[in-house]
């Protein structure tokens, strides 16, 4: 006989991930304060995970947790931790999360520049240009670059870029820009009929894209984690 | 019979053609499904042997297997020889 008042179910929640080269409590505090100043409302009591993959020195988790408490952020745990790091994090009462193989490939590339701020001063990106229609079931990924599609992106297709995405046709599928986490990247298209648009991990489904820009040319960006639609021209 | 019926009957009744074709081909295929795998090849081999002596067409040899009781199966072979005009 099952007790329906108590159930443990698996669920997926998007969490912000902090990448920071210097994990000394002081550095973390300064960086976080700067970031919070940009968008205080969004980060209020936000659950955060720290990526410790490229960190060389073992951080003082207790001190960092204290910083988070002061800044009214919730430190959930770490990800990308080595066995040793894991033990230490857990000792400090933090969870060790599995770095999953997600569609945003930034987490996979180990030689990727470690970010100290969310806005990356990226190296010169070579634009990937695709001169054909993207069909249902196909996927294009422009790693570390902008993506230009000279054609239509069909329903059921996915176009992904670490940079911006420009579609000189109709977007009916999914467009994922700023895949590496850069929220300044945008999606430009000639006709907006998208299934999904994502910028730096935040996404909107076609329901949220309805309105005066649906079926027309548009430029889609992220501002204060809110979707902003604007004229293409 | 009304005027319309008269005109209609001159149109080919394709459904009955279809039914006839289906009855033949489905029976043929069901038979093959129930028979051992070697039967088609057996039929072709027999045709080849007979052809060494008499010139006959593909459909003048037929091989089929019948189960007359639980233990006994009968292999029936039919060969139709053309009229000997020599």
């Amino acid at each position: 006989m099952s007790d329906h008042s108590f159930e443990l179910k698996g669920s997926l929640f998007p969490l912000s991930v902090l990448y920071c080269q210097d994990l000394s409590a002081a550095a973390v505090k300064t960086q976080l304060q700067q970031k919070l100043a940009q968008a205080p409302a969004f980060f209020y009591r936000a659950p955060v995970v720290i990526n410790v993959e490229s960190v060389t020195q073992v951080p003082d988790f207790e001190a960092i947790a204290q910083v988070f408490k002061e800044l009214e952020l919730v430190l959930v745990g770490v990800c990308g931790a080595s066995a040793e790091m894991k033990k230490l994090a857990q000792a400090a009462g933090l969870a060790s999360l599995q770095l999953s193989k997600s569609k945003t490939p930034a987490k996979e590339s180990k030689e990727k520049e470690v970010k100290t701020e969310a806005a990356v001063a990226a190296p010169v990106m070579e634009t990937k240009v695709v001169e054909q229609n993207i069909r249902s079931g196909q996927q294009i990924y422009a790693k570390g670059a902008d993506l230009v599609i000279r054609g239509t992106v069909g329903a059921g297709a996915e176009v992904i870029a670490d940079g911006n995405i420009h579609i000189y046709g109709t977007l009916r599928g999914k467009a994922i820009a700023g895949a590496a986490g850069d929220n300044q990247k945008r999606v430009f298209c000639h006709k907006l009929e998208a299934e999904l648009i994502s910028i730096a991990g935040s996404y909107w489904l076609s329901d949220s894209l309805q309105g005066e820009y649906w079926g027309k040319s548009a430029c889609i960006g992220l501002q204060d984690d809110k979707l902003v639609l604007a004229d293409l021209l | 019979m009304s005027l319309l019926d008269y005109f209609r009957s001159t149109k080919k009744n394709t459904a009955s053609t279809a039914k006839e074709r289906l009855q033949i081909i489905v029976a043929h295929e069901r038979n093959r499904r129930n028979s051992p795998d070697y039967l088609p090849q057996l039929e072709r081999d027999i045709l080849a042997v007979i052809r060494k002596y008499v010139d006959i067409a593909d459909d003048q040899v037929s091989v089929s297997l019948e189960k007359s009781s639980d233990e006994l199966s009968v292999l029936e072979l039919n060969v139709t020889f053309p009229d000997d005009k020599k």
Binding site: - | T14, A18, R44
Partner: protein, 269 residues
């Protein structure tokens, strides 16, 4: 050297075999030596539509396995001299069609024939992928209906990435759109996707529009490819389609609602 044309769709039941039979027959009627191959594995359909079901002795897989040669397996059409059919196997082994085997047979056929029409099965499994792999041109059969259009889009993706031409960096397969079961009345009412709607989504050149027609069922009942029913709308639409495939510029018919005269209303058109 023969031209290999695959008739495919992704979605089932949209008119691939009907179209393969009609187009193959149409091309042969023009004097070209033509063979239509049924690429289905396990379910044979082309022979029934062509009316030669009782003359099947050997099939595609028999030839690949060396159990028979092409000459023994090919069925010569009784109506048109230059038309031949290679029936499908009734095996259940999905690996029965090997790339090497299919290539060998296509090469052998290419020496003798002008056109090789590959009737693809539905889906994107081995029979369908094998049918499109060696193609030079593709006729993508689509119904003006959502799942058919999406599946056709998927198949177009396969044509541009999973074919031999794509793998070897050769010029791509020439893609044609064949819209079947078109009903202009429903399009006007706004109940059916129009030619323009489908064209906009799939973005390939329109080869032909075949109207929804009673002639198609009559044709398969009698084992006569519908293109031979030259009085019917579907038959004529296929004749136009074949002409365009052969490079002729033919205006599109059957796109608009026809005003049926009294006699046509009584006896059906």
């Amino acid at each position: 050297m023969a031209k290999i044309i695959v008739v495919t769709s992704g979605k089932g039941g949209v008119g691939k075999t009907t179209s393969s039979a009609a187009i193959g027959t149409g091309i042969a009627m023009r004097g070209f030596k033509t063979v239509i191959i049924d690429f289905d594995i396990g379910l044979r359909n082309l022979d029934l539509i062509m009316g030669c079901e009782r003359r099947v002795v050997y099939d595609f897989v028999n030839v690949i396995n060396g159990e028979a040669n092409l000459k023994q397996a090919l069925i010569k059409d009784k109506r048109i001299e230059t038309l031949f059919i290679l029936p499908a196997s009734q095996t259940r082994d999905k690996d029965a069609l090997s790339k090497e085997g299919v290539e060998r047979i296509l090469n052998e056929l290419a020496e003798e024939f002008d056109y090789i029409i590959c009737d693809s099965p539905a889906g994107i499994e081995s029979g369908a992928m094998m049918a499109l792999y060696f193609a030079d041109e593709a006729v993508v059969v689509t119904n003006p209906e959502v799942s058919s259009v999406r599946d056709s889009d998927r198949i177009l993706g396969m044509l541009s990435s999973k074919s031999r031409r794509a793998e070897q960096g050769l010029p791509g397969i020439k893609e044609h759109l064949l819209l079947t079961r078109y009903n202009p009345e429903r399009v006007v009412k706004g109940e059916m996707l129009s030619v323009e709607d489908v064209g906009e989504i799939l973005a390939i050149k329109l080869l032909g529009v075949i109207p929804e027609s009673q002639a198609v069922l009559n044709a398969s009942n009698s084992g006569q490819p519908v293109i031979l029913d030259q009085d019917s709308d579907a038959g004529q639409a296929y004749l136009d389609t074949v002409a365009r495939l052969l490079g002729e510029d033919v205006p599109f018919r059957f796109l608009n609602v026809e005003k049926k005269g009294l006699l046509k209303r009584i006896f059906g058109g």
